[in-house]
């Protein structure tokens, strides 16, 4: 009985400790952000590996999600004789929810896991300690550029996802199902507001980018330096970031649209 309570206490203390370390880690990364301006090349290479190389999966999924939205929206709307409202349905669901959330989930799977594995392996092969030996600060050389790269790439990827999705919905709705092309866009413009819908989506994607990159980089930094530890850290990155994104999305949606 006493043992059970003690083990509960131990696991809560461990959880708290990890959380505290993640926060201290974040502060130290934020404190070394000036390297991004001084050595911009480091960040460019990271944006390439995190953002540019995620483009394919984002564009393809955006296209298919938009096309499916076009189909499903049409099937439901046509019952009410409101197939013309398809554009609005597709645009609102993409810009407000699916764009930021699905992009963040894909981003965690595609870029977050890669970040964790890379950093975990660096730690395992003691490259980070070697850097410190050479008086190179790994926070500035390694962590800060990767952090900024994820933070910058995510909103851009989400915007591309939404834009491609709108075109996918157009392809299916107008091309295949015969919704009027003018009605598709005029309905869309009538219901979608720049401030309220598009900008809220962008804010969401900025928050998600911050959280996912934070989790990914910290998991790599915190990984146990064994092959098993790297595999666990990579899994943890995907699981924790996905849960964090979905949970945060609920909170952000409540804050942004709840009172409206």
């Amino acid at each position: 009985m006493i043992d059970a309570i003690a083990s509960l206490g131990r696991s809560s203390l461990n959880a708290l400790e990890v959380f505290g370390r993640a926060f201290v880690f974040l502060l130290r990364v934020l404190a070394s952000l000036d390297v991004v301006l001084r050595r911009f090349g480091l960040t460019v290479v990271q944006i390439h590996s995190v953002g540019v190389r995620s483009l394919l999966i984002i564009v393809v999924s955006g296209l298919f999600v938009g096309m499916v939205l076009g189909y499903q929206g049409y099937i439901t709307l046509v019952n009410f004789g409101a197939a013309e409202a398809l554009g609005g349905v597709v645009a609102l669901s993409l810009v407000r929810e699916l764009g930021p959330v699905v992009t963040a989930l894909l981003f965690a799977g595609r870029a977050g896991s890669a970040l964790t594995a890379e950093l975990g392996l660096m730690k395992t092969t003691e490259q980070l300690s070697a850097m410190e030996m050479m008086a190179v600060n790994p926070y500035r050389r390694i962590f800060a550029p990767r952090f900024v790269a994820g933070f910058v790439s995510m909103p851009l990827l989400a915007a591309i996802f939404s834009a491609v999705g709108v075109m996918g919905g157009y392809l299916v709705g107008v091309g295949l199902l015969g919704v009027d092309s003018g009605a598709y866009f005029s309905q869309m413009q009538a219901v979608t507001d720049w401030n309220e819908d598009v900008l809220s989506g962008v804010i969401k994607s900025i928050v998600f980018g911050f959280v996912v990159t934070w989790i990914a980089v910290f998991q790599g930094f915190n990984a146990q330096p064994t092959s098993e530890g790297i595999s666990r850290a990579t899994t943890q990155t995907v699981v924790i970031s996905s849960l964090a994104v979905l949970g945060l999305d609920f909170i952000l949606t409540g804050l942004m649209f709840g009172t409206g």
Partner: protein, 152 residues
């Protein structure tokens, strides 16, 4: 050489992202439509505005010329005060223009339809609409119908 490739790729990526945002702004949300640059405001007092919301369209003969800027309740007149922001190029509306709250379709959103009168003077900034027509409230209609049935 390798660095140049990275820079090019990232440049294209950032351009694509900004292009997508621009596309969302212009094609999807039609940002220009909502931020009408030059508007003048006209106030109308309605007995009942039904489900009218701020930012609802203001139309003449179905053509959109402005939007509802604000909705308040006027405690002195016991009526709803609706402020309409109309684009400045539409400065030809007669002083006795009538405003009615209509519904787009059976279940659509509500908007304000203006019907020009015959006065020679035109509406200016800060003017008050002389004639307004409330939104149709379904319950009132049904109630009236039922009382008419009873009297037969």
């Amino acid at each position: 050489m390798k660095m140049r490739f990275f820079e090019l790729a990232v440049g294209v990526f950032v351009l694509l992202g900004i292009g997508a945002l621009f596309y969302l702004a212009v094609q999807v949300s039609n940002v220009t439509d909502y931020h009408d640059r030059d508007t003048y405001t006209v106030t109308g007092y309605f007995d009942n505005i039904g489900g009218l919301k701020a930012r609802a369209p203001v139309t003449v003969s179905g053509v959109r010329i402005g939007r509802v800027a604000d909705i308040r309740y006027d405690p002195d007149r016991f009526r709803a005060e609706v402020v309409l922001a109309i684009r400045s190029e539409h400065d030809y509306l007669p002083l006795d223009t009538q405003a009615a709250i209509h519904t787009a379709g059976l279940l659509g959103e509500q908007y304000i339809a203006l019907e020009p009168g015959g006065d020679y003077d035109t509406l200016r900034d800060g003017d008050e609409l002389m004639f307004t027509q409330s939104a149709l409230v379904l319950e009132n209609l049904i109630g009236r119908f039922l009382t008419n049935m009873g009297s037969d």
